[in-house]
Symmetry: C2
Subunit: 270 residues, 2 copies
């Protein structure tokens, strides 16, 4: 129930719900049921991490402002045990971060063994915002696609399953969401006047995203474009992507590395 | 609905449910209802953090093996938005950690503005396990109570609300929980033969905990001893402690730092 990054971004309807026939209430019910499965798989991944298995999962979330990245963290990752989730959000780089290569701050936040890492924005901003706003010379950002591919290939080789999601919204949906933030005092804190400035660059961002998909959609670290005008659908779709990624790891409960009978006897003597 | 650390630890019944009259099913229902309130308060704290307010909350969880620290993280902190929670668990120190003072690794994991930090074990292990097993000379660990008090006073002064919880279980409850880990293949990964060795030191640990309460129960960073033989009660009690801590911060929604009408007009023009 997700689109691999095939064909142009412009051909994808942001209000569509590919792979799911029901509406909002059916979608919410499905999310709850599937969340229980996701939580079970996550616990097994965590158990493996504690038992010496180096594997981990990394969910990379990208999308325009208001696309719903935070909602995915809250409503999808919020369904699993917080002990097994490491969350990192990447804003405007600090001076210290700028003094290092662009992957430095990313590497520092990679998930440990057994963890699901969630990146709210990521190294892709270094070929998105950076490209759109000419924050570094083209000679520099243009090399980053290959650097990113190498980086992710190394990650995968070291045991991290990489799931890359672009939450794809329409300009109309963004306008509505920004308007809501301006209408509700409990949402003011989410509003940033700079979001309107960024809105002017919409076509440039869509183009930059398209280049990202063309250049970095690897079989081992695929991109998934998730229509996100309907929040309930995007949450369900990302849940399914995570279930699929964890399911591919074949996570049986780890075997004991101790003699169960012997330990039972020791315990009985205490 | 919690005991402040008054009077000796030995006087507290681990199966008691102070402040709550109902049983398990009422307790679980209460947890769900109170969890919604906790999630609302946490969102306000997060909003303040994003708006320049330096305040944060730190929950320190201590207790013997199987006391339910992980369950608190999963079932209490699991009720709030993962974006607003930073979780750290402190095991046996690494060589790098041992090459620094004992608070070094603790400071590195303190919650940022607007965050709830959760420590699964903490700097208190440096006067618990360390004291019980003579891991450093008494001349060294004996100075740590004062160092901890200063450290926590500084934290509080800088805007962090510190909530310290000891999950208090009985030796019988621990035996049952360890036995369950040996009976269920989906729990083997939680079992560590070293837990039985530690069990021999139970009285020494209880004594070391008592000294902790006697030396570090400050009004600004109080200890709460939570009876924890009934998991549902401990989870509810910690939820109430967190609600109380957040409630004391008087968290209204932050005022906008922009002109709402002006922004509405700008948005309409896009």
């Amino acid at each position: 129930m997700r689109a691999r990054a095939q064909g142009p971004l412009s051909g994808i309807d942001q209000r569509s719900t590919p792979g799911f026939d029901g509406g909002k209430s059916a979608g919410k019910a499905a999310l709850k049921a599937r969340g229980a499965l996701l939580a079970g798989l996550q616990e097994r991944l965590y158990a493996h991490g504690r038992s010496g298995d180096p594997r981990s999962v990394l969910l990379v979330l990208q999308g325009m402002d208001t696309a719903g990245k935070g909602g995915i963290v809250k409503h999808v990752m919020g369904m699993v045990d917080p002990q097994g989730v490491s969350h990192a959000s990447f804003g405007k780089p600090t001076d210290e971060e700028l003094a290092h290569d662009f992957l430095w701050r990313i590497r520092a936040k990679l998930p440990a063994a057994g963890q699901i890492g969630v990146f709210d924005r990521s190294h892709y901003e270094d070929v998105l915002a950076v490209r759109v706003h000419d924050l570094v010379p083209e000679s520099e950002w243009s090399t980053r696609y290959a650097i990113i591919n190498d980086f992710e290939a190394d990650l995968v080789a070291a045991g991290t399953t990489v799931v890359k999601v672009m939450l794809h919204i329409s300009t109309d949906a963004q306008r509505e969401r920004l308007a809501e933030r301006l209408d509700r005092p409990d949402k003011y804190w989410k509003y940033n006047p700079g979001d309107i400035d960024e809105r002017q660059y919409w076509p440039a961002y869509q183009e930059a995203y398209q280049v990202v998909f063309d250049e970095t959609d690897a079989d081992t670290a695929p991109w998934h474009i998730v229509p996100a005008d309907r929040k309930w659908y995007a949450r369900l779709a990302v849940t399914e992507l995570m279930i699929e990624a964890l399911g591919r790891l074949d996570l049986e409960w780890p075997a004991p590395d101790f003699d169960v009978e012997h330990e039972r006897k020791r315990l009985a003597q205490t």
